[in-house]
Symmetry: C2
Subunit: 419 residues, 2 copies
């Protein structure tokens, strides 16, 4: 479970958090009344054993016949799976599972050409993820990579394609039904940025050997906790605190994590919050920091730049004790921490940084999570989703649309001469 610690915010929220928790309660009511896009809300408890079995069966086939799984998707069809993979897989080398490579999230010719050359002599499968099947980036990537798949495997190519798409409509559904791809469904009432716990995220994770059952169970435990009507609900606390700070002129939130493997969790979080809240000319600007690395890059700005920032520290429990060795000569002066665990020093750095930033005018709260496992990652995804919807409703915007995303597409289609 996530624990939200806002104790250090009190000097910044002078009227106290209570009025903001009342707003959170009202926002939670709105969320309960949502019908069009609230499919994610009880998704964990509604996920059937049959669905997980079907995903695991597809994953088992991919694991048996593929060195690479190419996952084609953009936005919400990309960031969640990548975030979880970076959190849960080894950071160096391979554990013997298929390599997962993401494509369809850019239009770079070099990326595509290097990817095609790399796949040429690999056994691979494709998981193409798109509600419509017509979004430019994934559609281009699928055309190109499916050509290679057909060249390599001929008529057997279709059996290596897993399409995650709409149940009934759209180009990818039509293609899949015609060609006989294995298909998985993106529910109608789950928007892209809330879709990580559907087959969108689950199939790539299962193919990488991650327990999606544990992940869903972790999220299911979150349903009980984060939908609870209580002023100590950690999702309400997080939502209330960030809106209270925004009202006080803190316009930028940095999600600051303490290990490199959280980088794409940060990217997933930026989409969730930026796309849900950044509308009608308001919204907290979401940024992320990888600490302690970024204390030596963005640390100066955090300490002394414009005082319009607040910080959310995301800290997970240690997993691997590494003791700092004693050194007779002690030229580097580290013997005062010799014998200590690295994670003890890491946690101390967190506390030192929280104090320094708070003293410098950057309010700092903390989200404490257990050790990183499939279950705790599922729980964390769900926590952020609930807190985001509540936070957006507090700020007065509708959390589940993204009207601004069409503007560049409209220009692009006109410039490309699309009829």
């Amino acid at each position: 479970m996530v624990r939200t610690d806002i104790s250090a915010l009190l000097p910044f929220i002078l009227e106290g958090i209570e009025p903001w928790l009342e707003k959170a309660a009202a926002a939670a009511e709105k969320l309960n009344a949502e019908t069009a896009f609230a499919g994610w809300l009880h998704l964990p408890s509604n996920t059937s054993a049959e669905l997980l079995d079907k995903i695991n069966a597809a994953a088992a086939k991919i694991r048996s016949d593929s060195q690479v799984l190419l996952v084609i998707g953009i936005g919400g069809s990309y960031l969640g799976a990548r975030a979880a993979l970076e959190l849960l897989r080894p950071q160096f080398g391979s554990d013997g599972s298929p390599e997962v490579i993401f494509a369809g999230n850019n239009l770079s010719g070099l990326y595509a050409s290097q990817l095609l050359a790399y796949l040429e002599d690999k056994d691979f499968s494709i998981n193409v993820i798109s509600k419509s099947g017509t979004t430019t980036e994934p559609a281009v990537a699928f055309r190109i990579s499916y050509s290679l798949l057909e060249k390599k495997y001929g008529e057997a190519a279709a059996a290596r394609v897993y399409a995650t798409t709409d149940a009934n409509r759209g180009a990818l559904r039509t293609m899949a039904d015609k060609a006989g791809f294995t298909t998985f469904v993106i529910p109608d009432d789950v928007g892209g940025r809330y879709s990580v716990l559907t087959p969108v995220g689950l199939l790539p994770l299962a193919a990488a050997g991650i327990s999606i059952k544990d992940m869903i169970n972790g999220a299911k435990a979150g349903e009980a906790e984060y939908l609870r009507k209580s002023s100590d609900n950690p999702a309400w606390l997080y939502a209330a605190a960030r809106q209270a700070l925004y009202a006080k002129g803190k316009k930028i939130e940095t999600l600051s994590f303490w290990e490199p493997r959280f980088r794409f969790l940060g990217e997933w979080w930026k989409q969730l919050y930026g796309e849900s809240e950044g509308k009608e000319n308001i919204g907290i600007f979401p940024a992320s920091l990888e600490l302690t690395a970024d204390l030596h890059s963005m640390g100066q700005y955090m300490q002394e730049g414009e005082r319009t920032i607040f910080e959310t520290m995301l800290y997970s429990q240690p997993e691997a004790p590494v003791v700092i060795p004693f050194d007779e000569a002690d030229l580097d002066g580290l013997n005062y921490i010799a014998g200590k665990d690295m994670d003890y020093v890491n946690r101390t750095a967190l506390e030192a940084t929280a104090k320094a930033h708070t003293d410098g005018g950057v309010p700092c709260m903390r989200l404490d999570i257990p050790a990183v496992t499939a279950a705790s990652v599922g729980n964390l995804f769900y926590f952020f989703e609930v807190a985001c919807a509540v936070s957006a409703y507090i700020s007065g915007v509708y959390p589940f649309d993204q009207p601004g995303v069409e503007a560049y597409k409209k220009n692009m289609f006109a410039m490309l001469g699309k009829k």
Copy 2:
């Protein structure tokens, strides 16, 4: 050479760019008068063939006896080399050069333990980069990884360590001289974030097989161009435009690039600008976007969130033509761009996005660079360095210190009981 295109900014800089270019000229004078930390300014033309030969000789040894080069450093001793490597190496698989792994930029026990396990059965060398040798993160990483190196190679371990450090002083210099490590010098008058074109950045790049001679030559060409006293100097234009926008209330700059391989160039840029300008409670908050991916995550915020953002598009010339194939069925509706090059679509997306964002109240300028090569990357590093110093001087702060970085360290040492 970088070309700075600010033509789309005119609606936002009502008084015109001229007064800001005058400020840039005055700022460039201050930069010329700087003595303490201006070693980077003529570094490219002052870099001797002997130094490059010495670096290349060390690199050749690493390439001959190591599967992995472990580069230990944080902040400016980390981000530049990583940025250039991600730009210049293959994005998938290996080209046969040693793998470069970065350490000493975090305090995660899990990262360290997975790294040690991975190195156990690899031949590896260490490049430890630190002016003082006592910065906590790299010092801890070096203690731990040098232990493994000694366990594997005994007395031959020292011949596998390359220390990039102060010429005369500090713990790492003392250790290196005592143990007989090969050493390279970080000049006194070059700060960390301006050090990528010293041995700090050059040795890891040479070990990866990148031409550091080309990189320095590219930067050297930049000296002629970006130190030129002229209102069409592209570094002045960039510096003037960003400060003009900041004065108009645009508080956040996103550096938006069009291929995934620019991600760590963005991180390097964030340190350079954030650490140089974020002081005295002012400064543009630097953020980065990877496009088109982030159009499907941060795109909504860019289009309709708070109108306090401006955007700098960084675009490099295409390198690999990949033609979008024709498909008889055309279910995905892509045939209107069949036969076109992916990079043509990418460039069109850039123009469509620049127009959409500008129309939406986010002023958008463009930095055009040639195809990505060692020379053009060296040139780009140097461009950003000059423009950053000029921009900081325009804003009234001193570009070369970072007083705020000490605050968390002071707290941390107290909490850890350092005498």
